[in-house]
């Protein structure tokens, strides 16, 4: 099946092209369009599955498929190549599996939208780009996918382009992503150059991990390279300081949010670090930065999640926070745990987003019938929906329990693994555990706040609208059920050793990913500290504490939002704090103030200022310029031939003068 690797990205690409070109005029039928889109991803899923089984059964753990040469530069040969190894196989399953469910869901959710064909075309393209990113055998093929997901997210977030906020959000996502992308490119450039100066001209991932040691462990250059790559990862995976685009990305249709947040795009950064683990493991300083940024993001985003009233925004900040966990895992060298959490997060976060979509769908429907203009996404308008939407409610609840880290659900296993490594790893520390555990408690709190505001308590929706709220069709609920199921059982592939010891379940995932991560972890001695490795007490103690913290979070949320008027009193007591949290700590304003506005002004300044003023100003003399300034910008004349000629002459005089008189 390996030789059919190219089929995996091929199907979604074809689906995208068919829907994009023929959807509007020739196909028209929503069912057919949706069917083609879903089928394309399902086909990829089937191929991925067979590849996965072959890989886990076979002895060959790394397979590179080369489909011809792309570019040759000196000794650097760049091929069109795909790479299948346990890491990419696992990612393929997550992307195509969750992706197909989301496609199926979209058929129901997007029913009747203008540009249905367009939506499916973009969605397939998105999956295609993500698959290229995952399968890319060298950094440039990965970069195609890397750029591609940014681009598709741009198209999808701005899908409702009539809304100005959607267009702005899309632009923001793209621009922020591009900042990250250039980190990636610069990192690649530096890597290529430094490895090249060591005599190895390559950007192939397998060769990079083989030759990474040439750069010297802990050397400055490897730190710089990995930091640049990490900058790329923060852009894509919404970490501090480049996380602002992700919450705004909620402007897109809900399935898009699910796709971006759960299975694709945002996991790209984590995946990329996992892909280059050999390189990153060599740079302890960078790893430290990653761990700290991850932990900080986890708690920072969780704190913002407290005060959001828009159901999707809560989930968005929760994604940022959970991604922080993954980076924390990567930073302390727990690569497997990071990927594990990526996987379980894909399940429960997809379920949460699709569930919220189902709620919004129902609310929208209800409000529409009642001719109300209330925001269907505002949780303050909801409440008591559990009776109306049983499937949605139960799946949402299961996913919430999973994300909160309640034992025996998938989130518990993966999060606990991360916490354990954060505390016990040779690259970790107690502070990281404290921060991460705190964030876990906050997660439990705001997620249950979300559930209680949405599904429990009295119904706050307008009475007329209330009657029209009902459960969504099967295409929407079926994915929910499947995802909820996965959110429960998904964790059992990676049961921590301490627990597995008693119930005789081995840690499948660790064994499976060993060929990818084992080498780096062994070489750079990244493991649980010796004094903790055999202490079951320590592990169970930490586990117990994290469960306790999660329990406290859940209990507080239920208490606050169901029983008492504590939140209102809290707001009354600390109005400023609440407002600050509500306004996302004024980060957007700060960014506007610090970066966006100066950049705009800088561009404007250089345009009007340089072309108009400097050249003209040199001509006219400073006094004249002052006069012109006072007269106002519109009196500044330019487009004069002679100013241009003057510029040329000055250029000539300066250049010749410099060379002749030096």
């Amino acid at each position: 099946m390996y030789d059919k690797l190219w089929l995996i990205p091929f199907f979604p690409l074809v689906g995208s092209i068919i829907n994009g070109l023929f959807g509007k005029r020739y196909i028209k039928s929503e069912k057919v369009i949706g069917g083609i889109g879903t089928l394309a991803v399902v086909c990829s899923f089937i191929v991925s599955l067979s590849c996965f089984f072959q890989l886990s059964a076979g002895t060959e753990k790394v397979y590179e498929a080369v489909y011809g040469s792309w570019m040759t530069v000196g000794q650097l040969q760049i091929n069109w190549e795909l790479l299948l190894d346990p890491l990419s196989a696992l990612m393929l399953l997550v992307v195509t599996g969750v992706g197909s469910l989301i496609h199926l869901y979209s058929i129901g959710y997007m029913h009747g939208e203008v540009g249905f064909y367009r939506f499916f075309s973009y969605l397939n393209l998105f999956v295609f780009a993500m698959l290229m990113l995952v399968l890319g055998g060298n950094a440039l093929v990965m970069f195609i996918g890397w750029e591609g997901v940014g681009l598709c997210s741009y198209l999808l977030i701005g899908y409702y382009f009539e809304k100005k906020s959607a267009g702005d959000a899309a632009k923001k996502a793209f621009v922020v992503n591009r900042i990250g992308d250039f980190g990636f490119l610069l990192g690649l450039l530096t890597l290529y150059w430094t490895l090249g100066s060591k005599g190895v001209w390559t950007i192939n991932f397998v060769e990079i991990s083989h030759n990474a040691h040439l750069l010297g462990p802990g050397s400055v250059v490897v730190t710089v390279i990995t930091l640049l790559f990490f900058l790329g990862a923060t852009g894509k995976s919404a970490q501090i300081p480049l996380y602002t685009w992700l919450p705004d990305a909620m402007e897109g249709p809900t399935p898009v949010s699910a796709l971006i947040h759960a299975a694709t795009m945002v996991t790209a950064g984590v995946y990329m670090i996992g892909r280059m683990n050999g390189l990153f493991a060599m740079a302890p300083d960078t790893m430290m930065v990653i761990a700290i940024v991850g932990a900080a993001t986890a708690i920072f985003a969780a704190s913002i999640g407290f005060a959001q009233n828009d159901i999707k925004r809560v989930l968005a900040y929760s994604t940022v926070s959970q991604l922080g966990y993954m980076f924390l895992a990567m930073g302390v060298g727990a690569f497997t745990a990071g990927i594990f959490h990526l996987m379980t997060h894909a399940f429960f976060k997809a379920c949460l987003f699709l569930g919220s979509g189902s709620v919004i769908h129902a609310m929208h429907h209800g409000l529409h019938h009642a001719h109300l203009n209330d925001d269907p996404q505002d949780m303050r308008n909801m409440g008591g929906l559990s009776k109306k939407m049983k499937v949605t409610y139960w799946t949402f609840l299961i996913a919430t329990i999973a994300i909160s880290g309640v034992p025996l659900f998938s989130g518990f296993f993966s999060k606990d693994e991360i916490l354990w490594w954060a505390a016990g790893s040779t690259r970790g520390g107690w502070m990281l555990w404290v921060v991460a555990a705190g964030a876990a408690g906050m997660t439990a709190f705001y997620m249950f706040r979300c559930v209680s505001m949405t599904f429990w308590g009295p119904q706050k929706t307008n009475a007329k609208a209330k009657d029209h709220i009902h459960e969504s069709p099967w295409v929407i609920t079926l994915p929910l059920v499947v995802l909820a199921f996965l959110a429960v059982v998904g964790g059992y592939v990676g049961v921590p050793a301490a627990l597995g010891h008693f119930v005789h379940i081995p840690n499948y995932l660790e064994g499976f990913l060993e060929p990818v991560f084992g080498h780096a972890q062994e070489t750079y001695q990244i493991a649980i500290k010796a004094n903790m490795a055999h202490s079951l007490l320590a592990e169970f103690g930490l586990m117990g504490m994290s469960v306790l913290i999660a329990g406290i979070g859940i209990a507080l949320a239920c208490y606050f939002y169901l029983k008492t008027d504590v939140p209102a009193r809290f707001v009354a007591a600390f109005p400023k704090l609440h407002r600050a949290v509500f306004n996302k700590w004024y980060i957007d304003e700060l960014y506007d103030f610090l970066f966006v506005n100066p950049c705009k002004r800088f561009g404007l300044f250089l345009w009007k200022g340089f072309d108009v003023n400097v050249v003209d100003g040199v001509v006219n003399g400073v006094g004249r310029v002052m006069q012109l300034f006072s007269a106002g910008l519109r009196y500044i004349q330019t487009g004069f031939v002679q100013n241009y000629a003057m510029g040329m002459v000055i250029g000539v005089v300066v250049i010749v003068g410099f060379y002749v008189l030096r």
């Binding site: 345009w607 241009y644 040329m648």
Partner: protein, 491 residues
């Protein structure tokens, strides 16, 4: 007398100028046909000129495959050298001219200037460009440059009832003639230093007389001469005519100017640098390092605040010239062949983008602003997608031609050790994203403000756009073969 004729005939080698000869022949033929054609009915002239370009391309291809062991065919006592370098540039010129002519037919009719001379002038311009690329003597290159420039002055001001076109033509003319003055003064000084106008002889003489390399007269001559070419390539600070002229000129001509003649000036520049001033490499790499950084940065920064898309693309073409300069600074095989590759890629992507503009504009082209493009992507899906492809390529996203081109020149710079230059280049292309993106935002995220229903889809323009897309994707996905050609083309 007899002797003179024989001596004259002995120097003639038509094979060495065959493509340009074909083009001038067709150009004159078009002038004749134009006389007998009714104004406004010029489609057949456009197609005949396409035939001429194809014949010239065939001749070039044949010459390419016939390149022997020496890889060069001299003619006219070393005035032209038809080598791989010249032939590769021939293809760039032919592609630019063909795409330009394809998009012109309908455009000229819409604007009411459909006459045969237009096509003849484009063919003459292309021939001039070929003489610049293949000339090995200052005089040939200078005359090629003038054929090209004078045709372009006319073409830029071709819409003679349109004040903006007049202004563009006149500005271009005055500044172009002015820069010619500097170019010639440089040539005069160099002639004084070495006593020859032949570039190869110049190079050999300078290599043999090391003292001359540091002589102020040589350096001043070289710099003044470079100035003339830098003006044509629109390198900062000699770029200031570009936005005005590009904005005012007829759109197809703007497209053409930004690709063909620019490539021609780069060809002549490269021949001077590599053949003539080889021994002064340290001097000119330092100069081009600074100019490349300035050009990229200024071009991009100024493009940011433009609202007229045509003008924005003009500033962007300034910055693209800067990227090409990066390859020249690298001055190694990858960088130099990267420049050739970049110019070919740029011809496809930029002319493609302008072709979309030419189709989208109304008569008088008042609507080529960001507002005018609002919702364009939904009203004209095909053109919208095409524009996106070209913009991606201009941004330098993989897998498009623009990415491969930038990759080659930057990789060349990295290999030559100019890592910072490559970094600045990469940062600049990040900066360029902002303004290209605004076009896409306009096309896809704004409510349409006007009706695009009147846009017809003429066959020529469609072929042009499809060819450009094919070129952009081919050069991006499978750049290897063309890059090998570019490598063999470098001397």
């Amino acid at each position: 007398m007899e002797n003179l004729v024989q001596a004259a005939l002995a120097t003639v080698n038509y094979a060495a100028i065959m493509p340009s000869l074909i083009l001038t022949g067709f150009g004159m033929l078009l002038l004749l046909i134009g006389v007998f054609s009714k104004p406004g009915r010029t489609s057949h002239i456009a197609w005949i000129s396409i035939v001429g370009l194809i014949v010239a391309a065939v001749a070039s291809a044949q010459a390419w495959s016939a390149l022997g062991a020496t890889g060069v065919e001299f003619g006219f006592t070393n005035h032209v050298a038809q080598d791989g370098f010249a032939l590769f540039f021939n293809f760039i010129f032919l592609v630019s001219a063909a795409l330009t002519i394809l998009m012109s037919d309908d455009y000229l009719k819409r604007e009411g200037y459909a006459v045969g001379e237009y096509y003849a002038l484009i063919l003459f311009t292309t021939a001039g460009a070929m003489w610049m690329a293949s000339g090995t003597d200052m005089m040939t290159i200078f005359l090629g440059l003038e054929v090209l420039s004078i045709s372009l002055y006319v073409l830029a001001g071709f819409f003679r009832r349109d004040a903006r076109s007049n202004e563009a033509g006149l500005k271009y003319f005055l500044l172009g003639a002015f820069s010619t003055g500097f170019l010639l003064y440089g040539m005069a000084l160099l002639y004084g230093v070495v006593g020859t106008t032949n570039i190869a002889n110049l190079g050999m003489y300078l290599a043999a007389h090391k003292a001359l390399v540091t002589s102020p007269m040589t350096i001043a001559g070289m710099l003044l001469l470079l100035t003339g070419f830098l003006f044509k390539i629109a390198i900062v600070p000699f770029h200031m005519w570009t936005p005005d002229v590009y904005e005012g000129a007829p759109t197809p001509i703007t497209a053409f100017m930004s690709a063909g003649p620019k490539a021609a000036a780069i060809a002549a520049l490269l021949r001077f640098l590599l053949l003539g001033f080889d021994s002064m490499q340290a001097e000119w790499t330092a100069l081009f390092w600074v100019l490349a950084v300035l050009t990229m940065t200024v071009g991009n920064l100024l493009a940011i605040s433009q609202t007229n898309i045509k003008r924005m693309l003009a500033y962007s073409s300034v910055s693209h010239a800067g990227y090409a300069m990066v390859g020249i600074v690298a001055a190694n095989a990858i960088g130099m062949s990267g420049v050739l590759y970049y110019m070919l890629a740029y011809a496809f992507m930029n002319i493609g983008a302008f072709a979309v503009l030419a189709l989208a504009g109304k008569q008088g082209e008042e609507n080529l602003t960001l507002e005018g493009f609002a919702g364009f992507g939904y009203k004209r899906p095909f053109l919208g997608v095409a524009m996106c492809v070209f913009l991606f390529s201009l941004m330098g996203l993989p897998p498009t031609a623009g990415f491969a081109g930038k990759f080659y020149v930057f990789a060349g710079a990295v290999e030559a050790g100019y890592i910072w230059l490559a970094v600045i280049g990469v940062l600049n292309s990040a900066l360029s994203l902002y303004y290209y993106l605004r076009v896409m935002v306009s096309m896809y995220f704004r409510e349409p403000t006007e009706d695009f229903a009147w846009v017809s889809m003429p066959m020529g323009a469609m072929i042009c756009i499809i060819l450009a897309i094919a070129g952009v994707l081919y050069l991006g996905v499978l750049p290897q073969q063309v890059m090998e050609m570019a490598k063999t083309a470098m001397f």
